[in-house]
Symmetry: C2
Subunit: 493 residues, 2 copies
């Protein structure tokens, strides 16, 4: 019953839509640009959230919750911020509906709000208004808070997970007594994101800093992790912003330092969103469907018993014993013993959903004390002994996790190119895709010209030693001006 | 530095405001009726959420996410539902702000939505629209889904946690092939709520059914758990609704049964919210602050080392060893080794916050191999040996948990009265408060008269055998008509 999946080579965008739908990860809702996330997609998000949340807490952060609605006037307080976010937001103007004389439900004109409220596109303004009340002294610092929330940025062209009007995310907002401490925090959280991307999502990333043009509205510096998708386009996986004292000044947030002087507080903010699910799908998926890394898969192992009309009891008994053994070993396992579906249907279903390991158990297997094991990433069948099965599975899951990372990294390596002149650059961007490393003179002028002519943007200026081929200084082939090092260009999501 | 707390006997409402603020559980935001939940409050909610989520998953439910925005027309589809929810909701009418000619930020009149969107007050409509697409056959049933989300119901008079415009909650929405299965689900989830209230929150509750007047807008039957607060007012802790086929009919959601006939799907919904935090505070709090049940307390044990200018290292060493031992035993412990605050300040701080157990360790304690233990609920000091400390603490936490429940239950017993005539009833409601059990003829007329004359409502019709003094039939003292059993009246939050 699995829906048809368009091959990637035929139409990558359609392939993406097909696998998201077929694996029941998300679907569009009747509200333009908003998505419904069914259990398969949401449980993946829960696992991502739990993994990140653990790391946030381990680095001293605590969760809190701030209001969904932001007074319109707050957005206007930070000059750069309003430019970035006022353009595309949901505005609440009334607080009541009523039934009119013709029996129709309408917005009650008498229930107009004195000041319109904006549904949060991000929470810097409401949070810095709050911090200005919480912070008086150096003793109140640092504040290390994270929020898991829904946010809304009105989008005209949407794609499930990648760009939706409402999405789920976390936003960290920290307050510090010194610039250095805030910068250290910004970089620490970028490291947390990079670790999560590589060790949990099996998705290699480049860490670097954004150019001014790509910076968060209101930040002094925006750091990011950039990943490469299978169609050769880049995807920004997460950002960590050093906000300087911009928001503290806009919201008059000062503290008395140990010398008794008043200073403005230093700030950071950092976030990742459900967009990461899109990145995960486009990093590992294949023409058969999604492929989930074991550390994040809601179901790591599915057991499909091969049932016969007569005598399926020994098979079910063996399947239940396997389920118990794996559960006891801390492995997330699901036994699909529904008899209204045939094994072949189930095989396809779990392949589409990307379950890392599938076990099948038939009467002959029970007699021989074995189970049939199929890895989702490789697709090969193995007969493995029931004995020490948990250990076999544990090793297999580790191997799948590592294998996915290695494949993605190999893909990135073969799709990273170096250009020494603009003609080669244009040809690479147009024909090859992927990351293209080229010298850049550091001006917005050159950056804009390249973007307009090729649709490629500077994904990041990699940290020193971060990415091979980007450390040596040279000359910008367009302007002829000196360049400190090659930067990473790509067309991007 | 702890803020002053008004005694309960002086002004209960002010006491509540004072403890919520002093314990840093919540505060008002600049947006009318919305609250900020700082880490102390949010971690309590996280623990409540985790406890409930575990029980939801153990009963076969999966989490999902549906859109924040609901098209205005959806609300109108179920007749009773629109009456209940259209009156008080946040309406999104525009999708952009712009800077006008005078440089002011305004709502862009050109960005008006074709159809206004309502910020979800509850999600039955958007979810049943979705289910109508998901469900075709009996094979697609049941659907057992829960959502953790923020919802908005515009409120003019708000109280932190108890009644706010935006609040956090969970809403379960299930779809079934038969009426019986849906009724069973409704009752099962009520049991989950009652278990959570009693075993986690240490808050005794009465399970029962609501009268028609108090029913959820769109339900066939609303079941509830009702608790009694220390000021003698009742608080509805959670509700579970049997929705019949009302929403399935409104959203044309049918399925083909095993005989090949089309039927409408049967529905339930059930929810609890951050309101439970208000209930928790008002069930166990005292004049010194909040009192948290150990199973939910973010910090179960706080260690305060008594530091001296010279030679505090042995004390800190002992404190760290205690922290390690308790952490290893799975106890949530916090060592407050900050030297800018004095021990007395810390004692008061954690008393206000309601940490169940406080340990103090001074130089003499280290020499004697003991620690000073103070239970938040009883306030008595004990000197306990360092040896087997984890076991002592474990027993103490269990004892605090049970003690809180027993006290709350004893309070409820002494504050439950029986009235056999209307004059006694009025006197009890006015002078004694608490639950008042009285016979009722089952008519809305009598119910309304009592509510208008005494402000008391029927909190619930208890299940048979649920609550002593409510099972015997009798006569309604107001109408003289027969009554099947006494029902529970009270003034309520």
């Amino acid at each position: 019953m699995a829906d048809k999946i368009t091959p990637r080579s035929e139409d990558y965008a359609q392939w993406y839509v097909d696998v998201v739908r077929a694996a029941k990860l998300a679907e569009y809702s009747p509200v333009r640009g908003s998505m419904i996330i069914p259990p398969n997609g949401f449980e993946l998000w829960e696992n991502m959230r739990n993994g990140l949340d653990f790391m946030f807490k381990a680095t001293g952060h605590r969760n809190a919750y701030f209001p969904l609605f932001i007074p319109q006037s707050f957005l206007a307080r930070e000059a750069a911020h309003v430019d970035g976010f006022a353009k595309e937001c949901a505005v609440v103007t009334h607080h009541r509906l009523k039934v009119d004389e013709e029996g129709q439900l309408i917005v009650d004109p008498e229930a107009k709000l004195e000041e319109p409220l904006v549904v949060r596109p991000t929470s810097e303004t409401i949070i810095w208004d709050t911090y200005s009340k919480w912070i008086q002294s150096w003793r109140d610092l640092p504040i290390l808070i994270n929020q898991w929330a829904n946010v809304v940025r009105w989008e005209m062209r949407t794609r499930l997970f990648l760009r939706t009007s409402e999405f789920l995310w976390q936003e960290g907002h920290t307050a510090h007594a010194t610039e250095q401490e805030a910068v250290d925090e910004t970089l620490q959280m970028l490291d947390v994101y990079a670790t999560f991307a590589e060790e949990w999502m099996a998705m290699p990333v480049i860490k670097g800093v954004k150019t001014e043009a790509e910076r968060f509205a209101g930040a002094v510096d925006t750091y990011c992790i950039e990943a490469l998708m299978q169609d050769g386009k880049a995807l920004q996986g997460g950002t960590s912003h050093f906000l300087g004292q911009n928001f503290a000044k806009a919201f008059d947030c000062t503290f008395q330092n140990q010398e008794g002087e008043l200073e403005h507080v230093w700030a950071t903010s950092w976030g990742v969103s459900t967009r990461l699910i899109g990145a995960l799908i486009m990093t590992h998926g294949d023409d058969k469907g999604v492929v989930l890394p074991p550390r994040l898969a809601p179901i790591q192992v599915v057991i499909v018993p091969i049932l016969r009309k007569d005598g399926s009891e020994p098979v079910l008994e063996a399947a239940r014993a396997v389920r118990q053994e794996l559960t006891d070993a801390g492995i997330r396992v699901f036994l699909d013993d529904r008899d209204q579906y045939r094994p072949g249907w189930k095989f396809t279903e779990y392949e589409v959903q990307g379950i890392p390991v599938r076990l099948a158990i038939g009467p002959r297997d029970v007699e021989n004390g074995v189970v049939e094991l199929v890895r989702r990433d490789l697709g090969d069948k193995q007969s493995v002994p029931m004995e020490s099965l948990a250990e076999t599975i544990r090793e297999t899951l580790d191997s799948v996790q590592q294998g996915l990372f290695d494949s993605a990294k190999a893909f990135r390596e073969t799709h990273t190119h170096t250009a020494d002149d603009y003609e080669s650059f244009k040809r690479l961007i147009e024909e090859e895709g992927g990351f293209v490393l080229m010298h850049w003179d550091g001006t917005a002028e050159t950056e804009t010209r390249i973007k307009e002519e090729t649709k490629a943007t500077i994904r990041c200026i990699p940290f020193p030693g971060q990415f091979e081929g980007t450390d040596e200084s040279g000359v910008d082939p367009i302007s002829g001006q000196p360049s400190k090092g090659r930067v990473v260009f790509a067309r991007a999501y």
